[in-house]
Amino acid sequence: MRDGSPAPLLEIRDLHVHFPVGNNLLARNRRLLRAVSGVDLTLAEGECLSIVGESGCGKSTTALAVMGLQEPTSGDILFGGRSITGPDGPNRMERARIAQMVFQDPYASLNPRQTVHRSLAAPLRLHGTRTRSEIDDRVADILAKVGLLPEHANRFPHEFSGGQRQRIGIARALILDPRILMLDEPVSALDVSVRAQIINLLLDLQEDLSLSFVMISHDLGVVEHMSDRVAVMYFGQIVELGPWDAIFANPTHPYTRKLIATIPDPDTVLHPDRDRTAGAAPPPPAGYRFHPESVDRPDVYAVPAPSDLLEIGPGHFVRCAPG
């Protein structure tokens, strides 16, 4: 799945995350919930990669594994060619400078009892910035970058609107100058107008600071607007991966087609005849993990049948039916 370019910034190789389910004391007969079963992804420098899929498909678990917040069952995560999982990987202090996360709910992800300054300064102190003036400068600098004023530093989270709080969440993620931002539904809790402002801000920051984004979202409008590449996940596996234009112009996997067909789009009023799923595709062969006519969902406890990602266009991969 490598495209010949220099080593990617981040590489996920055959990632599996399984959770034991059931409360058998002797840990026998426990079933394994396969949240992520065999994900391979790469992220290039300065790229925005989006992972889309419905709740429970394993997209957040993948993000948590990259952040080091969820121990992978197996598989490797490499940053700049070096493994960051397992005992030989970097410690948490080093990891904090690799990737930081922006969470969905700006109300829940800030400490209500700490001023913005204190929330932003804590990581700096932990990472060795000791002098007060240095910390103050850095906090003022980062607030300016996200479009807030220096005097906002002395306020508490409840004094801000949702959009401003998300700006603080972004400032908190950026304060240590990480190379990668993991955006977990960064705008889905926000109103339309505020959402537009935050999306504009994220795209500006990406350019100014040459950041790489991994964005998790189920809002395909936002995904299309922001991404360079899109990975579609379905029950722990990537079913389609490709450049954003290939995914939206030529969705091939039946699940991708269903996702794109079901988003409510205001433009359908103006062009009722336009079929967003690009004409009549041949019906998917039986045995896909997803079948549009079937109401059965895959068994998350079963080992998925081996299947391959097939390259159908430049950088555009689709999982074919197993067997």
């Binding site: 709740s55 906002h152 401003q164 537009a196 936002v222 269903k258 996702l259 205001p266 433009d267």
Partner: protein, 311 residues
């Protein structure tokens, strides 16, 4: 289409009554809904769309109250009804679906009983007969194995199934008007699609009019014949859906449409256009406020801080 409207809302003001001047939160809202029509109210949080809907069926929480206006339902002013008459009407002629199906359902009663309640209260049936109709009602919203699911409790069902139960309760007595307040916001996109199609299908089959409230322009566009756009407690534009999306007149509507990342709006690899910033648009044009009653909103919540300004 010169039928008499099913609902005719005239100059509705909702506010907090106080001594002397009351503070109005919903200002001068008026629209009509014809029988069998789907009307959408769209706006951002705090624009007053939910308050408008709640005031129709007298479910406003104190201290909020309708301060003036007329709510004509089939020609009668609902404001003149007694609480008892209003209770009879609610659920029978006007039903409502809420956003969060977990909190709107009673966790201690089976879903079958909650549906049967409608027949017992509004149709005077016995519980046995009502329970049988509840199975039919569940079947009509495409819940699989309705004979078994009537005995299920809400926590045993998924979000999409719970919302289907809510729809079954709301439509149990064949109401004339269904108010759906963000019915699919808590659901996944694929489930949202199924639930919206279900509402559209059932309501058009029964001739039920729908008042759909949503912040999602896509949902409104797909469901409604006419749309009202609310901003800061006012109805700023009310049009046929096609006209609104093809040719929005009010600057706020234009801003709202421009702020939306829409599918197929990005062209070419470099085509990441900036989305329209509504607040900047408003700040730019002070003259708007005279022309359209279009005041910039204040982003700072605490009045003490307003002098400081903000993002």
């Amino acid at each position: 289409m010169t039928e008499t409207p099913l609902l005719d809302l005239r100059n509705l003001h909702v506010g907090i009554p106080g001594q002397g001047a009351s503070v109005d939160i919903v200002k001068d809202v008026g629209f009509t809904i014809l029988p069998g029509e789907a009307f959408g109210l769209v706006g951002e949080s705090g624009s007053g769309k939910s308050l408008t809907a709640l005031s129709l069926i007298r479910l406003l929480k104190k201290p909020l109250a309708v301060s003036s206006g007329e709510i004509l339902f089939k020609g009668d002013d609902l404001r003149g009804l007694s609480d008892k008459a209003m209770r009879r009407l609610r659920g029978d002629r006007i039903a409502m679906i809420f956003q969060e199906p977990m909190t709107a359902l009673n966790p201690l009663k089976t879903v079958g009983r909650q549906i049967a309640e409608m027949f017992v209260l509004h149709r005077g049936m016995g519980w046995g007969e009502a329970q049988k109709l509840a199975i039919d009602a569940l079947a009509s919203v495409h819940v699989p194995a309705p004979e078994e699911r009537v005995r299920a409790y809400p926590f045993q069902m998924s979000g999409g199934m719970r919302q289907r139960v809510m729809i079954a309760i709301a439509l149990a007595c064949d109401p004339d008007l269904l108010i759906a307040d963000e019915p699919t916001t808590a659901l996944d996109v694929t489930v949202q699609d199924e639930v919206l199609k279900l509402i559209a299908e059932l309501c058009s089959a029964r001739g039920t009019a729908v008042l759909l409230i949503s912040h999602d322009l896509g949902v409104i566009a797909n469901m409604c014949q006419r749309v009202g756009v609310m901003y800061q407690g006012r109805l700023v534009e009310e049009r046929d859906t096609y006209d609104l999306f093809a040719n929005p007149r009010h600057p706020y509507t234009r801003g709202l449409l421009g702020a939306l990342p829409r599918l197929g709006s990005r062209h070419g690899a470099a085509g990441r256009q900036r989305l329209v910033d509504i607040d900047a648009l408003i700040a730019d044009k002070e003259s708007l406020s005279q022309e359209f009653c279009f005041e910039p909103r204040n982003p700072v919540r605490d009045p003490r801080l307003r002098a400081g300004g903000g993002a």
